[in-house]
Symmetry: C2
Subunit: 212 residues, 2 copies
DNA sequence: TGAGGAACTTACCTTGCGGTAAATTACTTA
DNA sequence: TAAGTAATTTACCGCAAGGTAAGTTCCTCA
């Protein structure tokens, strides 16, 4: 062995394994910092590898992002779909959806934010793909929120649009809080959300509302 | 006059006026793109000026950010303070707070996001100042949410923390939606929020909740 | 009319990033 | 044991951003 003057050469890690490591590190980095602020050198360093390897395995930065996005998007879309489709929309459907999301995200919570990154190059393939995912998810949610609004006496389409946004960001918020509290299990989170919903209901049930 | 071979030299715009222009453009750029993704050349171009001038008037990029942050933070903190302090916490306090925020933000809606930028250099003065602002605002909100939770039968401090986050991000979400719908007046937004609250109440008032 | 200061730009430097071509080392197998 | 291939690095390019020093033009007023 003697004197390895260069650190080049294989380290015995098979390609597939390495790719998985890279995807995991990249997902975490993209999820926490966002596409624009995330840097390939930083991701590479996490894995203990050079950024060149990232390029060789995944191509450009956006390609790598896409490689992170697709599995996460597929998994979440599928989760939400089955959570909502079980039976008709009921009052606790939202909680069931939340629970399924928490469960699907356990082990890699930041992955959620890979789906909703605003700093993506707007014209790129990654942004297009992400938009596909959340428009599909939104469509699922839209059914529930529309019913809700009709029941509450509103037929304004902008109300529906706004509610869609609120719901989507509410999930993001809860996940963000969850990321900061790693000890919380998915089930504990779901129960917490149920309590929060109950508290919120108290807030909004005042009949003497001057803003109506 | 003849041939001005260089475009250097004054354009007759007094320093204070120019500084205002720069602050406005920078606030918009920082608010929409975020600190990391925003670029000084882009801001300079909006104003029709060179980035060097930004440096001469405001110093470093972070200094400029701070110069944007302080007036916005002062204004919003003040607004929320008076909106909450008018009398005791009632059920429609949240709507009053929202209305005051919308009103204060009218004319420069993206400014809200200057307060809550996650891409700031974590150790810098700007991040510290921003944290001061929203911890002050959170403290105001904490009173209301704590009461809410107690009423709903929860004494878990983590519930309170989570609710604080949710409320904060809810405001951000509503403002973000508002930015995308420039024709909506602050009053119209407030009324819309009242309707959304009502709809949300319907969602959370199911007594047969299996997640409790 | 001719300083002097105020408002602005030109030209430059440095750094860090995304990206590529060409090695270099280790593992396998004929 | 030598050849071939898989895994990885070294060394480089170009670019755009943040930042600075030194001018250049215009306005004002003694």
């Amino acid at each position: 062995m003697a004197t390895p003057r260069s650190k080049a050469g294989t380290k015995g890690v098979p390609r597939q394994h390495r790719q998985q490591q890279i995807l995991a590190a990249a997902t975490e980095e993209f999820g926490t910092r966002g596409y624009a602020a995330a840097s390939l050198p930083a991701i590479a360093e996490r894995v203990g590898v050079t950024k060149t390897l990232l390029h060789q395995y995944f191509g450009t930065k956006e390609d790598l992002y896409l490689a992170c996005l697709v599995p996460v998007g597929d998994r979440l879309l599928d989760t939400v779909r089955t959570a909502m489709g079980r039976d008709g929309t009921t009052a606790h459907t939202p909680l069931r959806v939340l629970q399924s999301i928490f469960t699907a995200l356990e082990g890699q919570r930041e992955a959620w934010f890979v789906l909703y990154d605003t700093s993506l190059p707007a014209d790129g393939a990654a942004a297009r793909r992400a938009a596909e995912y959340w428009s599909a998810i939104d469509a699922l949610a839209a059914g529930g929120t529309a019913d809700l609004l009709r029941a509450a006496g509103s037929d304004d389409p902008l109300d529906a649009d706004a509610l869609k946004y609120v719901w989507r960001d509410l999930v993001a918020t809860l996940v963000r809080w969850w990321v900061k509290h790693p000890d919380q299990s998915p089930e504990a989170m779901t129960r917490r959300c149920a309590r929060l919903f109950a508290a919120a209901a108290a807030l909004t049930s005042d009949p003497a509302d001057p803003f109506r």
